[in-house]
Amino acid sequence: MAEFAIKKIPNDQKKEIGLISDFKNTDIRQLALYDAVVLDYTDRQGCEAFIRQCRGSFIGTLYLMPIFILSLNKDITKTVEVLSDGVISSLQVEPIIGLIDRIRSKQQNLAVIDSSSPEVRIMTKFLRYMYTRERKIEPIIDPKSHIGYSYPMLSDHYNNGNTVEMFRVLDNIAHNEYARPTFVDKLHLCSECYSSFLNFRETCPKCESLDIITENLIHHFVCAYVGPEHDFISDDYMVCPKCNRMLRHIGVDYDKPSVVYNCHNCSHIFQEPVMEAFCFVCQKRNPIDALIDKSIYSYDLTQIGEESAVNGFGREVKEEFDIQGFITFTTFNIFLKYEIERSKNSQKPSAVGSLILRISSEDRVKMGSSYKKLMLEMADFIKNATLSTDILSFVNNTTFLIISPNNESSELQSLLNNIRSSMEKLLQSSLPLTPFKFDTRVISITGSQNHTDCINQLMAN
């Protein structure tokens, strides 16, 4: 049945262009047989689900497939518009042939990449899509998204709970200069779940109650009485409760020098309520200064990004190494979270630290396989220098993370300093002409921290 769900659109150039109207009965694997497909937008929901399914795939021929939308009035959703290669209003496909050829010819340049790392696969996809389409990736406003924005090629890989992972990939892309970020917007996100679905509200500074009211103060010039507006209201008039004179004219008889808040819960009087951001997703009451500020960018492919899109990151160079004794970043996060929890109940000190090698992406590319060799040597040294109880991770090909249970931060700092000086000697002898430097950071673990904040501090540029 699926074979008949795709209809061929005849054209002069003999391109295999399929028309899909029945999305339920179409198997996306069939698309591999076509040069391009046109999706009938009559079934809007089916069309959007189908195009997302295509772009969400990890198979290059599917997510890079030239896809056009057939819509008479061109009234399509932003997501569909961004995920498609164009909108046509008739089955005259000749105008889009040129574009199909360009995409296909660029596709032919792409080398085969074999990686099991989800992060690398997503980055590859992201860069290759930009490369073949010669266009930037822009975030679109998406009320259904946790953060209010989505990156159509990326967001489908991360459910709302994994927003932090998505930002990490984007930061990684920008940090390694694969794509050039351009500022779009700034978000304030829940410190617990990274949601931007927040309700900003005023609370009582004493009891945190939301049941507060605000009222103007009135100053009656003649008798110097000052009180809230309701003290003066008498039927339809305003009469001073002290001298019984009628207040007729603002600025002449009275003025309103300020406002006061009154808490109905604890009767506290104040003028500066405490603002908080209530998260509708995880229901956390965030103090305003605890919110995570995150900038949203659009991304343009750079030369490094283009090379990486075509040739891959060079598995031996760019892909995250699988080093024995070093856990993945995701697992490290979980361990850190547990360590923070543990420190709540235990009085024993504990620390987490990072050692980051600052070296330009170009230099790393130039070094090729010797970079991995160097990293493995460093990893080996770190493993031997640390305790067996220390938890190690290697991230972004440049960063070593260490949780040191039962150690003071000063001890970890001194350990990292020793490692750094040894590493510097090693690199100076191995790479005499390459500029580099090491950064070390250590945070003492207390029960009140958030593991994401700790990671952000440790890995900040």
Binding site: A224, Y225, G227, S258, Q271
Partner: protein, 436 residues
């Protein structure tokens, strides 16, 4: 030549005789000395005579107060007082009495007061901080604090005043010593007494007129001004009165209003607050011009009904204000006649009269100062001020009289207190329109 002068002086004294000398300085011997010197000495004698009844009564009142443990609201209205607030708040935390509510009202400050106070509030050192973006004057700021304070008693303090550890406890006890006490004035002394000659002289003046002078008037039942720097009031009565009216001189005004309600006003000289006095004579002159104008504005104009023999006439209130008006206004103006007459009729003897007057005045002031020391808890440090007593004749006898006379004329003929920048124009204008 010096020998000749002394010979002539003794001849003058011998020739004039004792009564002639008394009559020559009648103003001092018949008017000032009985009112200020004799009464001071009498009060000292009464105070230092041990009285078991008085001691037991005081103990009972103190116990009653501590057992009740009422909430006391400390209100601090002011503009640009941020620099003093931290010290004040820290000092208040040292008080022996703990059930305090601390309310600060910033009356449209244009310095860092708001930032400082908000910070203190966040750190829990202040209970309520309210700021008026538009300046309304001291009375309006005090009334705003009154509107939101919750204490049974309200203590009005100036931000630049600091207090003995037991000051709040002490100022509360008179409410429990007698029935019907509506307000209690605290004892204000000069903190920076050694900063300049002006502050040293003011320190002596404060000791004489406040520490002892108010003890005397309180003893006689004619105490009529609870200082704005440190005064305690019953909150229910303040609410009845609607708080303070527009100043300057609002502290004296509210005291009279309490008296008119029929409540007693007490003075507690053991409740001590220290304030910063103006360091320069120019600033002191401006301050005293303002204070003296309020005598005309409030005593003679606003509260003139106290002198009218109608149904609401009260002897105690009459004498309280009469004492004030008679000694500070009438006799002050009369003094000019006295001094001019003294000079004109005794022109050839001025070289003898001036040192004689100086000697008599200084002796009187010394006796008064000994009374002060006898009643003071700080006599070990305050006795050093005696070196400045010779200057007190010029300070009290001439300088202050000139200032007062200027103030009276300015107020009587030009209503100049209504033009004082101490209050915003919008309030002063209304007060003038309504004769307040």
């Amino acid at each position: 030549m010096l020998t000749t002068y002394w010979e002539n002086l003794f001849y003058f004294l011998e020739h004039e005789g004792f009564m002639r000398i008394i009559n020559l300085f009648w103003y001092y011997f018949y008017i000032e000395a009985p009112r200020f010197l004799v009464l001071d000495v009498l009060v000292l004698i009464i105070s230092i005579i041990p009285s078991r009844k008085r001691r037991l009564n005081y103990e009972r009142a103190r116990n009653e107060f501590l057992a009740e443990n009422p909430l006391v609201s400390i209100i601090v209205p002011g503009k640009n007082e941020g620099k003093h607030i931290y010290k004040l708040v820290k000092g208040m935390r040292e008080q022996t009495y703990r059930n305090l509510e601390f309310i600060i009202v910033d009356d449209g400050s244009n310095d860092d007061t708001e930032v400082i106070c908000r910070n203190l509030k966040e750190n829990g050192l202040i209970d309520v901080f309210l700021r008026n973006e538009e300046r309304g004057g001291k009375a309006s700021a005090a009334n705003l604090a009154l509107r939101y304070c919750k204490g049974k008693y309200v203590v009005h303090v100036d931000a630049d005043t600091s207090f003995d550890r037991d000051a709040i406890e002490r100022i509360m006890i008179p409410f429990y010593l007698e029935d019907n006490v509506g307000g209690v004035g605290g004892n204000i002394k000069v903190r920076n007494y050694d900063e300049s000659i002006a502050t040293s002289l003011q320190a002596i003046e404060y000791l004489q007129t406040i520490s002892v002078g108010r003890k005397v008037t309180s003893f006689l039942g004619i105490y009529k001004i609870i200082s704005g720097a440190f005064g305690a009031f019953r909150k229910d009565l303040l609410d009845r009165l609607g708080g303070w009216d527009i100043g300057p001189g609002l502290d004296g005004d509210i005291t009279v209003k309490f008296r008119k309600l029929g409540y007693k006003i007490a003075f507690e000289n053991k409740a001590v607050g220290l304030t910063s006095a103006p360091v320069r004579f120019q600033a002191l002159s401006n301050q005293r011009l303002r204070w003296s104008k309020s005598l005309i504005r409030f005593r003679l104009r606003k509260h003139k009904d106290v002198f009218q023999p109608d149904a609401a006439f009260n002897f105690s209130n009459f004498f309280a204000l009469f004492d004030n008006v008679f000694y500070n206004l009438i006799l002050d103006l009369f003094w000019w006649y006295y001094i001019i007459d003294l000079v004109l009729t005794n022109m050839p003897f001025l070289m003898f009269i001036i040192p004689l007057k100086f000697m008599i005045y200084s002796m009187g002031t010394t006796i008064q100062f000994l009374v002060v020391l006898g009643l003071s808890e700080r006599w070990r440090t305050e006795w050093r001020l005696m070196y400045y007593i010779p200057l007190m004749m010029i300070y009290n006898g001439y300088y202050m009289r000139v200032i007062r006379t200027m103030a009276y004329f300015k107020e009587i003929f030009w209503y100049s207190s209504y033009k004082d920048a101490w209050n915003p124009t919008k309030s002063s204008q209304k007060a003038r329109d309504f004769g307040l």
